[in-house]
Amino acid sequence: MKAKVKVTLKNGVLDPQGKAIEGALGSLGFGGVNGVRQGKYFEIDLAETDRAKAEAAVKAMCDKLIANTVIENYAIEIA
C-alpha cells in the first residue's frame, strides 16, 4: 500500500518561507494572493496490505518522526 502524508504548519506558526513566496508571486504580477503557507509532502511505500494497520503504522511514523506536532499538523491518505 502507499501512504501519502501532508505536513503543514499549525495556524499561528510563522512561515517566513511562505511569506517570501507570497512576495515573489506579487512581484510576478499575480494579484489576489491573500497568503501562502509552505508544507511538506511524503509518499511512503508500505509492505502492509491491511488498510487499518497501514494507517495506524503511518500515524505512529508521523507522531514519532515525520511531523513535529509542536508546530505541525499532518494528514494521511492511504491508497
Binding site: V13, L14, D15, P16, Q17, A20, K64, L65, I66, N68, V70, I71
Partner: protein, 220 residues
Amino acid sequence: MKSAVVVFPGINRERDMMLALEATTGHKPVAVWHTETELPKVDLVVVPGGFSYGDYLRCGAIAARSPIMTDVRAKALKGLKVLGVCNGFQIITEAGLLPGALVRNAGLRFVCREVKLKVENNKTWFTNRVAKGAVLSCPVAHGEGNYICDADTLKRLEGDNRVVFRYAAGSNPNGAMNDIAGVMNEAGNVIGMMPHPENMIEPLHGKTDCRPLFEGLLAA
C-alpha cells in the same frame, strides 16, 4: 566534572566544544558516536552544533531519533546534565527534552555574527559564575534559531525563570519569541541555547566573555 560530547554525521562543532570543556574543566571529554547505545559514566553530556544529517526533514529531527539519544533521554530524565548548543539545542528539543521548537529565522537568512547575550537566570549549573543580567558577547551561526512555543508554555518558561539566556535589546538575530536564546527544562538539568559560547573563551577568539559559563561547570 567528566563530560561526553555526542557526535552525529554532519556535526562540526564537536572539536571546539571538546577543547572548551577540556580547557575549563581539566578533563578531556569523551566523544560518543551516535550509533552507541550507552553513554559512559559522566556528569555532563553536550550535544554540539553543526548540521546533523544535513538538516534533512527538520533541523535535528533525525539525530534526535538516533540510538544514543534513547540513553541520553533516559539519563536526562534521571537528572543527568545535558547541554545542547545550536544544532544540539535543535536536537534535544526535537528529542522532547525541552519544550517548543526552533524554526526558520524570521529574516530567512543564515545569520553568522556576534550577538549580545543577556544572562537571565544565573542560578543554573552553567551560569552560576555570571551575574544576573550580565551581557556577554557571543557568536551565533544558524539559519533556524527562531524559538517558538505555545502561549501557555511561554508563560510557564517566563514565570519559572526557565529562560536562561535572552538576546539583548536589538540583538535578536532570528525573531525568537521574547528574544529567547536559551531555555532549560523544568528540573533544570537540561539547557539548550542557540549561540556558541564555546567559541568565545580564548583570547584568540577575540573575547573571553563566555569562559565563566564553562568555569561554572566546576562549581555545579
